[in-house]
């Protein structure tokens, strides 16, 4: 199956990577003690690792080529992926949804408080992912400063709670509106920009918000952050920490369900179809009479709204926030969720968020490699499966001719 030629090429690739990683992987210097340590074992790891990866990539491309040939020859018929069949057929879908819903409802009783807490975080990222999915997945605008809106929501709650003692439920819509306002504020200047410029400007915007929060001490208390934020209240009932977590879990669950419902409806609405048209071809979309400005602004505003809401929940959950929680890495993680799950696909984003947030929690031993893996995920997904784990299937209408009798 694998020829000698290919083996040789993989060997060369592996040699190249040994050379490439030599100074950084093998040599380690201590400039103060003036000691050089040579870590030759790392060179061996790099050699083996790059050889294996290179062989796997080769095998993948050979398989893909064969598959294409067989499809062209007609000996293989393209089958609908299992997951799409399940999604389409109510008789599989409904029991599955019921099972998932039951599991989600019973989750806090089946597992410890610690697990529930992790799950709350994962659910927060589900909503963040779905929010960013509106901007990136549907409207095709690459937003790298999404965390800014998250920060806006969190700080809205923290500051209003600190100065005016406003409660969680009152601030939740205010935080969402503030974030939407910031979304429009960012949206206006960048409307004229194309994809890549937009990415950088949103990145810059995210950093500006963080730097302002860090430096404007009178306003945000700077890097030391704001502590003692109230947890969400439930008609004024005093709650223990455990029941507060339980409450927060169901609250997040409700938010997730609402988000899924709204995003799903949005997708099929007039504005949702306008977003998809905008993503596919801006000029053609304008020619069809769609108002580009309005469409882009609503995408930004609606995407930001969810981030703002989750921001409020985040502040209420941790009861302490500081600017360090809102770095570019957060934006990158959320983007990674959307890309891994599948841009534009709601189920994909949910699964992406659960995988990317829960997996590192349970693989604590490898936690140092988390961001490295996220970077690798972005690159590999783009190269091997740009549509994500679960592709977003376009709604198509099949016109079937009636057989002539």
């Amino acid at each position: 199956m694998i020829s000698f030629q290919e083996l040789k090429r993989s060997l060369l690739v592996s040699l190249w990577f040994v050379f490439l990683t030599f100074p950084l992987m093998v040599i380690k210097v201590d400039p103060i003690e003036r000691i050089v340590s040579w870590r030759w074992e790392n060179a061996v790891f790099v050699a083996i690792g790059s050889f294996v990866v290179s062989m796997l990539v080769r095998v993948f491309f050979v398989q893909k080529q064969r598959r294409r040939e067989r499809l062209a020859a007609g000996t293989l018929v393209e089958r609908e992926p299992l997951i799409q069949v399940i999604l389409r057929e109510p008789r599989y879908l409904y029991p599955l949804v019921a099972a998932v819903a039951l599991f989600a409802l019973l989750f806090p009783f089946l597992f410890s408080t610690y697990q529930t807490n992790i799950m709350i975080t994962a659910l927060m990222y589900v909503v963040l992912g779905l929010g960013l999915n509106i901007v990136v997945g549907l409207a095709g605008l690459l937003d790298l400063g999404y965390v800014a809106f998250y920060a806006v929501g969190a700080y809205t709650y923290a500051l209003l709670n600190l100065h005016f003692d406003l409660g969680f439920w009152l601030v939740l819509p205010i935080g969402a509106m503030m974030a939407a306002l910031f979304g429009v504020m960012l949206g206006f200047p960048v409307l004229r920009l194309r994809g890549d410029y937009l990415a950088i400007v949103t990145l810059g915007f995210g950093e500006i918000i963080r730097l302002i929060l860090e430096n404007w001490n009178e306003f945000s208390r700077g890097p030391s952050g704001i502590a003692n934020i109230s947890r969400p209240g439930f008609f004024g009932v005093e709650m223990s920490l455990e029941s507060a977590i339980l409450y927060l879990y169901y609250l997040m669950m409700a938010l997730v369900v609402i988000t899924i419902f709204v995003v799903n409806r949005l997708q099929d609405s007039r504005i949702g179809r306008a977003w998809i048209a905008l993503r596919e071809d801006e000029i053609a979309c304008q020619a069809m009479g769609i108002d580009k400005t309005k469409t882009k602004l609503t995408a930004f505003a609606l995407g930001a709204t969810w981030a703002g809401m989750v921001g409020v929940v985040f502040a209420a959950k941790t009861t302490f926030i500081n600017p360090a929680s809102f770095t570019f890495m957060e934006s990158a993680i959320i983007l990674c969720i959307v890309v891994l799950g599948g841009m534009g696909s709601i189920l994909g984003v949910i699964i992406g968020a659960l995988v990317l947030i829960l997996l590192p929690e349970y693989l604590r031993a490898f936690s140092d490699y988390r961001m490295l893996a996220f970077g690798a995920v972005l690159v590999t997904m783009m190269i091997f499966r740009p549509q994500g784990i679960i592709a977003n299937v376009r709604r198509t209408y099949r016109f079937e001719k009636k057989q002539a009798e």
Binding site: L24, L144, M382, I383
Partner: protein
């Protein structure tokens, strides 16, 4: 007045480093229309490689001149290799993919390289050896202009002249300009476009590595995170000058460096990075084609 001159020189030094990095962005953008997000990381890797080589050589007792030359060479060679590999692994397979794909891939590459250096080396700030000695003839001016400022300005000027000559007159330079104008046409007249693109990455990365080494020995410390901010600022410089334009990148670098230097000197040093970002946002709103760039006409 003295303060003004001090700020002026510090601005020029910063500006020349931004210009060196911005050249890589602008060359790559000019040829394949991609913002190479990983470019800042290439610059960081250059600084790190020169740090490792210089420290090892100084421990083994090499003379300063040999250390400077070998560290610079190693930084340029390895950064160029990284640039070449990144293009081959992360961008080449996506050349015909939708616009968003290579961009996301580039962001992933940037995260990957940053964390790779973090894991392979350390997350601490490392003291960078002083590679540029204090020149004797600079003694009377030392309170306003540091020797390293002068060395950086001279080196950058030389590199830029060299690059201009390369692009104007050499065979590969002509091929690069042809590819930037029209890739399909360049292919038709027999230019190996893949090789031209690889060469562009190699040259851009080597320039960034030299910039990395110079600034690291000027500042005196490095860590794995320096590429992120430097990358965004150099990108700002490239956009300011008009992305795709080589003189534009140099001009943009100097304008940005001076703006930052005077703004931090006369206004406030807390918001150093905010000035750069705000400048970027303002240019993109009012003159997205930059100072020397051509307006981009979108065709169907």
């Amino acid at each position: 007045m003295e303060y003004f001159i001090e700020l002026l020189f510090s601005g020029l030094t910063r500006g020349s480093i931004y210009a060196l990095i911005a050249l890589g962005y602008t060359m790559v953008y000019g040829i394949i229309g991609l913002i190479n997000f990983a470019h800042g990381e290439i610059y960081m890797i250059g600084a790190f490689t020169s740090f490792i080589v210089a420290t090892v050589l100084s421990i083994y007792g090499f003379p300063l001149l040999a250390i400077v030359l070998l560290a610079g060479l190693a930084a340029a060679v390895w950064s160029a290799s990284y640039g070449f590999t990144v293009e081959k692994v992360a961008y080449r397979p996506l050349r015909h993919a939708p616009r968003l794909s290579p961009l996301i891939s580039a962001i992933g590459m940037s995260m990957f390289l940053q964390n790779y250096v973090l894991l392979a080396q350390t997350s601490d700030f490392l003291p960078f050896p002083q590679l540029i000695p204090d020149f004797d003839f600079m003694e009377p001016y030392a309170h306003v202009v540091a020797s390293s400022d002068l060395a950086i300005l001279v080196t950058t000027a030389l590199v830029m002249v060299g690059l201009t000559l390369l692009i104007k007159f050499s065979r590969i330079g002509k091929a690069m300009r042809a590819t930037a104008q029209d890739r399909t046409m360049a292919m038709l007249v027999g230019i190996n476009v893949d090789r031209v693109i690889s060469t562009t990455f190699v040259i851009g990365s080597a320039l960034a590595a030299i910039g990395g080494m110079l600034i690291a020995s000027h500042v005196g410390q490095i860590n794995f995170f320096i590429g992120f901010i430097a990358g965004i600022k150099a990108f700002t410089a490239a956009v300011l000058g008009g992305i795709g334009s080589i003189p534009g990148a140099v001009l943009g670098g100097f304008v940005l460096g001076l703006t930052e230097s005077f703004a931090t000197g006369y206004v406030s040093s807390d918001y150093e990075d905010v000035f750069a970002f705000s400048l970027l946002v303002l240019i993109l709103i009012f003159k997205p084609s930059g100072l020397l760039g051509k307006a981009d006409i979108q065709k169907v």
